[in-house]
Chain length 208, copies 2
């Protein structure tokens, strides 16, 4: 039963991938726990990508409500609200339905902000070009060790709110080491939305 | 199918409740997202409860690994490690099995630290006397609006890391208002493990 659900999701993810690529839209699934700073990070990234002349949209995924959707709209980023009702993650079927209501020819880049959670989204690829996981220094320094699956599944891992690292007493090198070991040598990307550190490097990576 | 799973969980939760009460152990299920500060809060609370002559234990729930278990042991709090493997929440069956391996007559108070997540644990009571949800100011000020279910299910809601409220620019009153409206007048309990603010009030509530 579980295998069927995951296989069906992968099939629909492939469908989404063809739809997005067919329309010439680059896309990234942004995962991370509640409070990692996904929304603020996407807003910051979107503004820089828009400055470069690209058209950006965001699917704002949440269990309920439209708080993130409102934040995107207020920040001038075109957003589409997507509620899961009860589920702790987006899936390819929900994204498929959302894509039906979006004029993809109006977009060059699409962020999909997943539900805040480091466990559930790992098993459910959505069909985006890449998957990005955001953790923040306020979560401590054991995140990679506690949630290896999502870090293995993600193409890019961001270590956010670096401006708070010292105050939180977080061992940044330990987290970087954990991630390097888990992924066979990949580097965490440190960022701070507040100071702007690491943001342009991350944009470069997304547009690469 | 979903109904069966939830009904079976409630049945096992009742079983756990009788087991714990029969052994004279007070218990609380501590829920909250990754990084809300559950582990540090439980350590702080445990030390104060132990100072009052009570014997405290913690079931450290996580998807994988024993980082929290190690932190409890290092802090001198008797801990029991409980991994879900892949699941995003503890359930009554897992706790039932954990209780089998714990000498409950050695304990007066048991914390059950749930998996870091504001979505999944809501539907799965474990059989503890009460359920506590922890959010922190680093998660922003829309947590109650985004996750109404878990705040409705919890008996106590804690707003942690208050020492960072100003730096994070969080509208504390807004969160308190959201919680009050959702619960028909209940108050969020502000805490800071760093400064100790609100900790004794919370201990009082747990031992009440």
């Amino acid at each position: 039963m579980e295998t069927d659900v995951l296989a069906e999701n992968r099939h629909l993810a492939d469908h989404n991938r063809y739809t997005l690529r067919g329309a010439g839209v680059r896309s990234v699934d942004v995962m991370g726990t509640t409070g990692a700073g996904k929304t603020a990070l996407i807003i910051k990234l979107s503004k820089i990508i828009m400055e470069r002349g690209l058209r950006v949209g965001v699917i704002a995924g949440d269990v309920t409500g439209q708080d993130d959707y409102d934040r995107f709209q207020e920040a001038g980023v075109k957003a589409f609200n997507l509620n899961t009702g009860k589920e702790c993650h987006l899936d390819a079927n929900l994204v498929d339905k959302a894509l039906d209501s979006i004029d993809l020819l109006d977009l060059d880049f699409l962020f999909v902000e997943n539900v805040g959670n480091l466990v559930c989204p790992a098993d459910f690829p959505l069909g985006t070009d890449s998957r990005l996981v955001v953790i923040s220094v306020t979560e401590g320094d054991d995140m990679v060790r506690k949630h290896p699956m999502i870090f293995q599944d993600a193409d890019i891992a961001v270590f956010n709110k670096m401006d708070l690292a010292e105050y939180m007493g977080v061992d940044v090198e330990r987290v970087k080491d954990d991630y390097r070991k888990l992924t066979g040598g990949k580097d965490l990307m440190p960022t701070s939305v507040r100071t702007g550190d690491g943001i342009r490097e991350l944009v470069g990576r997304l547009l690469d």
